[in-house]
């Protein structure tokens, strides 16, 4: 009787243990080249839309100024640090703003999500630049960023 119960118990235990599995185990290491290409390419797309949608003329109270980060003439490593700083700058100064004109910059929208995922694979944390640094309007910041992302994309494409 005990043997029966034991066999049954083992069978039930074995069959009820949930299987844990992943499709193509994912690591935090540098992603495949085509993934970088996808993330940077999507970032270009989202920046183009964000720039197009963003009003050229804004009332004074909606003017946003961000640090004038060095965005051109950078090598690969410097650009990785830049993108990390860009994410920090946008998250702290734009993502939380309530007006609909800043919708593209919310952290659950594709622009910020692509930037976040790119940084997860490259530079997760970065030294912030001095807050006393010169500032430029958000629209100009985005145009400079687009040029830099396009440059990065052309190097992986």
């Amino acid at each position: 009787m005990m043997k029966t119960i034991l066999l049954l118990a083992v069978a039930v235990f074995v069959s009820s243990t949930p299987v844990t599995t992943s499709v193509k185990p994912h690591t935090d290491k540098t992603p495949a080249r085509h993934t970088d290409k996808a993330l940077l390419g999507e970032l270009v797309d989202e920046l183009i839309v964000a720039i197009k949608d963003f009003p050229k003329v804004l009332p004074k109270e909606k003017l946003i100024f961000l640090k004038d980060l060095q965005m051109n003439g950078l090598d690969h490593k410097e650009r990785e640090v830049l993108f990390c700083q860009v994410e920090q700058e946008l998250k702290t100064k734009v993502s939380g703003l309530s007006d609909a004109i800043f919708d593209h910059f919310r952290t659950d929208k594709k622009l910020m999500r692509n930037l976040n995922m790119y940084n997860k694979y490259h530079v997760k944390t970065c030294k912030l630049t001095d807050e006393k640094q010169d500032k430029i309007p958000l629209h100009d910041f985005l145009k400079n960023l687009l040029a830099s992302v396009r440059n990065a994309y052309s190097q992986v494409n």
Partner: protein
């Protein structure tokens, strides 16, 4: 004693037979890289879809989006299927799924977005043009243009209706059309054409479902 042993084996086998244990291959999910994620559960031992669901957790920036996908029987495929609408997809984001029967956890499975993209099926159109050739155009069914749109390619297959030999051609989606040269075909013959789409995001590893078939007929003399 021997009959007791046989009884033990019998009971064990009964339990193994009745205790539904899905494997990773039984659960498949695909996303269209636009708004939809579809999952299917297939198993010969799965008697009913009722009570089976997928809890999905999707980390987005510093938060978690959560979805519940409730399986229902698809009478065409005989699989259990469900789908959820997602607020856009990003290539390397992860979906963590937990398959449940009632409150009983059957399986955990993790998917990375780009790995399980299955593009939408294209909608084909064929027009005979002035030079006698056939111009194939298609609608990829995606609203936006951009990098994902450029990474698609269409795999065209055509052949004589009822025949066994087919010709396949693959062209980038951005080309938007393909010309079938009539002089390479038999005169006065019915041909059929189908297509699938695939994406560079996962090295074209998952083609779309096949498109609806379109027919075209060659002239009596070519």
């Amino acid at each position: 004693m021997f009959s007791t042993f046989k009884c033990q084996i019998f009971l064990t086998l009964i339990c193994i037979a009745l205790c539904y244990e899905p494997t990773k291959e039984d659960l498949k999910c695909f996303n269209d890289y636009e708004t939809e994620m579809k999952c299917s559960l297939s198993s010969k031992r799965l008697q009913s879809c009722s009570g089976h669901k997928l809890n999905i957790t999707h980390p987005v920036s510093n938060t978690f989006e959560k979805y519940t996908c409730i399986f229902e029987r698809n009478h065409h495929s005989d699989n259990c299927e469900c789908n959820v609408t997602v607020e856009g997809f990003v290539a390397t984001e992860i979906f963590n799924t937990t398959l449940l029967e009632g409150s009983n956890v059957l399986l955990y499975k993790t998917f990375m977005t780009s790995d399980f993209i299955k593009p939408k099926s294209p909608v084909l159109s064929v027009q005979k043009i002035e030079n006698g050739n056939f111009n194939v155009t298609w609608d990829d069914q995606y609203e936006k243009n951009g990098i994902f749109f450029e990474a698609l390619r269409i795999n065209l297959t055509y052949g004589i209706k009822g025949g066994h030999k087919n010709i396949s051609k693959t062209v980038p989606n951005t080309v938007r059309s393909y010309e079938i040269v009539a002089k390479n075909l038999l005169p006065n013959t019915n041909y059929i054409l189908t297509a699938t789409m695939s994406t560079d995001y996962n090295d074209h590893s998952i083609p779309s479902d096949q498109s609806a078939t379109v027919e075209f007929t060659t002239c009596k003399s070519i």
